[in-house]
């Protein structure tokens, strides 16, 4: 990060692990916070996503793509939390930090003497955000959680599927990324609270509970109206009953697994679609003049649209329909998003990060663009332990001899 950044001067002691944890503080780092990752090169302190998506298929502590994506703009130092001296140094660092962030089961930090009450004694206004799977209390408090099954537990998997089929597969973990945005938002909220009151806070953030909030409208509907006769009309496929949208689906285009989407919500958009298609005879049928009629005739509409799109290029379809004012788009895959999308390129959604061991790789930048504080990619993910000198000498003021003694006792490791 270079230039003016909204979180400049905010320091985060980051015990996070894995994808959900790493991403949460990544979002803070790209807003200018100084994020210090506490790491260790062996289990249990090792973040195993350092071995996920290894560059060119060759494993190495610093070659993991998932780690390198989720940790840009951060610093990493080694600290053996299995030793009393390590835990003591962590407590010293709490004094120098504004925020402590972690995503482990609740007992871990307690075992290290880094529960909120203890940290508050070290630094009265500390902000401690603990992002566990299920929270700090309740029958599931100590349970382990990973993103993939958690998408089932939280009901997210019920949101996509086709009739008579099991829940659809999601080839990504929305539960992790969503938790990360929620938790970054929590930290920002707590920083504003501290700015107004001078007070710190402990936040017990449960990833599963946070993900359940995404289903709020369905939970509220059940609570308000009870179960619906015949189940939920939106439970399957791409069609939508609220509001009655038709057509509303994905349609095959020229090429292998090439699709576009078309979404019509009202009479104006239907009129625009008819004009874009050249007002074919089928579209002029009187029963299609109202949204109720179109909703009831989706099979017919979808068959006609598929016949039309299947002979056309997906980008041409999307552009033609948009030129006429119809919400439409291309079902883009990762290559499309990275290489072909002119809008994301314009925004700088992805940027190349130059990494000493993994090379030049593209990663996401930042999802919130501030007009006076633009994000400028500055630093790739840290090599494991690269900031040892900064943390132990510059921040904690240790001498060469003290640092050498810590290394001899395997409290700190240089790599």
């Amino acid at each position: 990060m270079s230039g003016l950044a909204p979180l400049a001067g905010t320091r985060v002691l980051d015990f996070s692990r894995q994808f959900a944890g790493g991403l949460g503080t990544r979002y803070l780092a790209t807003l200018g916070a100084e994020v210090l990752r506490v790491e260790w090169p062996e289990p249990p302190g090792l973040d195993f996503i350092r071995f996920f998506g290894s560059a060119d298929g060759i494993d190495g502590l610093n070659r993991g793509g998932m780690f390198n994506g989720a940790n840009v703009e951060k610093r990493s130092f080694t600290l053996n939390m299995g030793t009393e001296k390590g835990r003591s140094l962590a407590r010293d660092l709490v004094r120098l930090c504004d925020v402590v962030y972690e995503n482990m089961t609740p007992r871990v930090m307690q075992g290290w003497g880094l529960d909120y009450a203890s940290m508050k004694e070290i630094r009265e206004d500390i902000i401690y955000v603990s992002c566990s799977g299920f929270g700090h209390d309740g029958p599931a408090a100590g349970y382990r959680s990973y993103g993939s099954p958690s998408q089932g537990h939280t009901g997210l998997l019920t949101l996509a599927g086709l009739p008579g089929r099991p829940p659809a597969g999601w080839a990504f973990q929305i539960g992790d990324t969503h938790a990360a945005t929620q938790n970054a938002l929590t930290v920002l909220t707590a920083l504003l609270y501290r700015r107004r009151t001078g007070r710190g806070v402990f936040v017990d953030a449960a990833q599963t509970q946070g993900n359940v909030t995404l289903l709020g409208q369905y939970l509220l509907e059940l609570a308000a109206n009870g179960p619906r006769d015949g189940g939920d009309p939106e439970a399957a496929g791409n069609r939508r009953a609220h509001p009655r949208a038709a057509p509303h689906n994905a349609y095959r285009c020229i090429g292998p697994d090439r699709w576009c989407v078309i979404a019509v919500f009202d009479d104006d958009q239907w009129g625009a679609l008819r004009r874009a298609l050249g007002d074919p005879r089928w579209a002029r049928a009187p029963e299609l003049a109202t949204s109720e009629g179109r909703y009831a005739s989706q099979d017919v509409i979808d068959a006609e649209l598929s016949a039309w799109t299947s002979k056309r290029d997906r980008y041409h379809v999307a552009r033609l329909l948009q030129e006429h004012g119809v919400p439409a788009g291309v079902v883009q895959d990762t290559r499309d998003v990275l290489d072909w999308d002119i809008q994301l390129a314009h925004r700088g959604t992805f940027a190349v990060y130059e990494h000493d061991e993994a090379g030049r790789r593209r990663h996401e930048t930042v999802g919130a663009r501030l007009s006076k504080m633009p994000y400028v990619p500055n630093k790739a993910a840290p090599l494991l332990g690269e900031a040892n000198d900064y943390v132990f000498r510059d921040l904690l003021g240790l001498s060469d001899a003290e640092l050498a003694a810590l290394e001899a006792d395997d409290v700190v490791r240089s790599l």
């Binding site: 909204p6 793509g65 998932m66 994506g69 989720a70 309740g138 599931a140 993939s148 089932g152 537990h153 939280t154 009901g155 998997l157 019920t158 949101l159 659809a168 080839a171 990324t177 969503h178 945005t181 920083l191 609270y193 107004r196 009151t197 806070v201 509970q209 359940v212 995404l214 709020g216 409208q217 369905y218 509220l220 609570a223 308000a224 109206n225 791409n238 939508r240 509001p243 994905a250 095959r252 697994d257 699709w259 989407v261 009202d266 119809v326 919400p327 788009g329 883009q332 895959d333 990762t334 290559r335 809008q343 314009h346 925004r347 959604t349 990663h363 999802g367 919130a368 663009r369 501030l370």
Partner: protein, 399 residues
Amino acid sequence: MNQGPDAGALSGVVVFEIGDEGTQACGKYLADMGASVTKVEPPAGAGSRYRGPFFEGNEDPDRSVYFWAHNTNKASVTIDLEDGHQRDLLRSALSRADVVLEDHPPGYLAQLGLGYDQLSAANPALVMTSITPFGQTGPLAQWKGSDMVAWAMGGAMSMVGYSDAETPPLVPRGDLSFQIAGQWAGIGTLAALLGRDLLGGAGQHVDISVQESVAFITDGYGVVPFEYTGTGVTRRDMPNLVRTGDGGYLVAQMLNISPDRWVAFRDWLRANGLGAGLEAIPPAEFESHRDLLLKAVEEVASTRTGAELFRLGQSFGFTWMAVNTPAQLLEDEQLLYRGFFRDVEHPELARSIRYPGPAAHWSEAPWCLRSRPPLLGEDNLAFGLPARGTLDPPGHVTC
């Protein structure tokens, strides 16, 4: 105004939400955390008030359950943005606001004199956050969006569905793209409020693209394999899915298991007469025999409920989790224990309704449901506007 530790963390922050589906999630978060959020609606009401399902099926703009879900703790005023006098009232209020959230097509508010440059001239501290389908500038800035269009263009829809080539990519229901863009809007808004300290008190304009927010959902699973190994990721069936005895599904994930846990699982299977084929295999090698392992789990699952399997799996260190339906979530013992659901009084209905709660529990200044979603124009009089009269027919819903 109460601004102590028992008030919300964002108490004192004044927000106007000139928008609907794009702004509602961010507005709800800020309001639930204590900010004063006023939803500025057209005279007939926000389009989402006409979106079902409706309470008891009664199609009334004050009874949209969809609207309720995303608009707790807000006030509502009706303002015709095309009416000069009403616009002046709004402009005067915005001169004292901290935050404006809006989701109109880029340039529309500026035409009405309500763009960032115009509003910040009168109120330099203002933070204005615009949430649009593709962002404020760029070649597709004026394209029309929807939840599905964002999922498609953001790259996520290509990764949801089934492995067979005949089935289409799928968009999950639930307006997840708007909810996630709403989180980014919250991040940008609060970052800009904090950033005022570094800008001599000045605010700034925050630009959120729903498409980009969706692209970020997939980053670690789409972009990373593509960039690091040249591998494209496409749709696949949900892995580790097995049927449960109560007719549902279990995601039987077994990841990062220590050797002693495998031994414990092997012994438990043996004691229960299950796990045929696994006896001959050392537990340390179970993970490389996934077919046999999943077959054993299928046997285990076929006579147990999802909730039982969740607990059983955890006893071996497995993250087995059932696919819960919304109805099951309403009964989830962990959510109930933590008091996730909150009963909110709806005086106009003479009853309370159970709302979903917070993502996180705060030791002070907590998330709180202070008031039910506003009736249309409920706060007009306090704002100096006439009370709401007879409803005009709704405009179209812009999704």
